[in-house]
Subunit: 241 residues, 2 copies
């Protein structure tokens, strides 16, 4: 029954029909959504990620029989069927969960929009503006680089990153692929409002060492299935080498 | 029919049964939810407000026949029936909408958790962390003080503020009431996780020049009805003076 479902879901994208064989029983870890970096008990830094792309990838991988762990920042989304969800808030929490699960993963997909920086100090009580105070400075320090740390594991899972950029998208994506030793990177232009963070649709280009595949504008659900197919193929090729 | 609904909803809290007469046809403007202050096209500063308290107040005022305008920051909530909702993102946008509607309002309730500060510069493209960069600084400047500016209007609406604090709650609330020339302030302790921003419940103390009323732990819907009753009474007293 599961096989039928997957064949049905995957067949329209498949050049070969055995994505399910490649993913069935494989451990897939996916991060999704934004992270929130606390400034004080009520204020935080965050970003526009809705989590939709990561959740759609988790659903698509689970349909193909993978054991999916979804490590999710704060979102309003319902976890997909047959997916185990771990809820986190900050990049530090997400890093800890990601490293714990990545060690045993076959495939790791970093779809979360992880904050690069967090406030150096978190105030334990709400910061008060002082009378006459017209400006304020927040000092930020670097967060752990989750995807780079996953890709540095030995043995490492097949590691797929995302590059959500507003400019020079292809260049940043290629650079990130090489510098962080990723197996694959999925790049999209979040400056375009019809696709990206708050949209139901997306349009991406997938870069790997060997090729570059463009996926035109389509629903995130449909795109997720096509991407899982592409990832499964590349994962199998990497195993075969 | 409307009268019956209100009497039914308000009767359990009423010392007198004419809240509806006090609010029927009155223009009530309510702000709700967080604001988001952009750092670049994908990153922002925000806070934990869910908007539930402001939306519940809007619903309660509309049931009593008021013409309610709800100026809302980004939330996942559905606008209550018979409420006109204006969606905004930043404190600057909320300030502009609030001032435009407050001029014609009888009652203004500032339930939004407005960011006190915003980044001085908003980058037009996604900020990139540089290789080796371990720290970063965000310079913030003060946002307009919406509730103080509303209370400074001539003539001014009956102006109700909120004080969401984590410590010295009563002291900060009383100070804010006086300093910003508010008619009333509703104070709650958001350090307690069982009430406040992300809860369905709340417990507040209402301060005015003349009195101090404590509302014990209860659902935000029930509390909103009691608060609208209290606001309507105080509004009427102010009109009668």
């Amino acid at each position: 029954e599961l096989v039928d479902l997957c064949v049905e879901h995957c067949s329209s994208y498949s050049t070969n029909a055995d994505t399910i064989n490649r993913l069935n029983g494989k451990r897939v870890v996916i991060t999704a959504g934004p992270t929130r970096e606390a400034i004080d008990p009520v204020r935080y830094l965050s970003n526009e990620s809705s989590g939709k792309m990561g959740y759609a990838l988790a659903a698509a991988a689970a349909i193909c029989g993978a054991e999916v762990t979804l490590i999710s920042g704060p979102t309003q989304l319902t976890p997909p069927q047959n997916v185990s969800r771990i809820n986190v808030i900050s990049a530090t929490d997400m890093h800890e969960a990601a490293m714990a699960y990545a060690e045993k993963a076959d495939i790791f997909i970093g779809a979360a929009a992880v904050a690069d920086f967090r406030p150096e100090h978190v105030a334990s009580t709400k910061l008060k503006k002082k009378i006459g105070e017209e400006a304020m400075v927040i000092k930020l320090i670097k967060n752990p680089d989750i995807i780079a740390n996953v890709a540095a594991l030995t043995p490492k899972p097949f590691t797929v990153g995302f590059a959500a950029e507003t400019n020079n998208v292809d260049q940043y994506a290629r650079d990130k692929l090489t510098r962080k030793h990723l197996d694959m990177i999925i790049a999209n232009d979040v400056s375009r409002s019809e696709i990206g963070f708050n949209s139901e649709h997306n349009e991406v280009t997938v870069f790997s060492e060997y090729d570059e595949i463009h996926f035109p504008h389509q629903s995130k659900d449909r795109l997720a299935k096509a991407l899982i197919q592409t990832i499964a193929n590349a994962f199998q090729s990497a195993m075969d080498r």
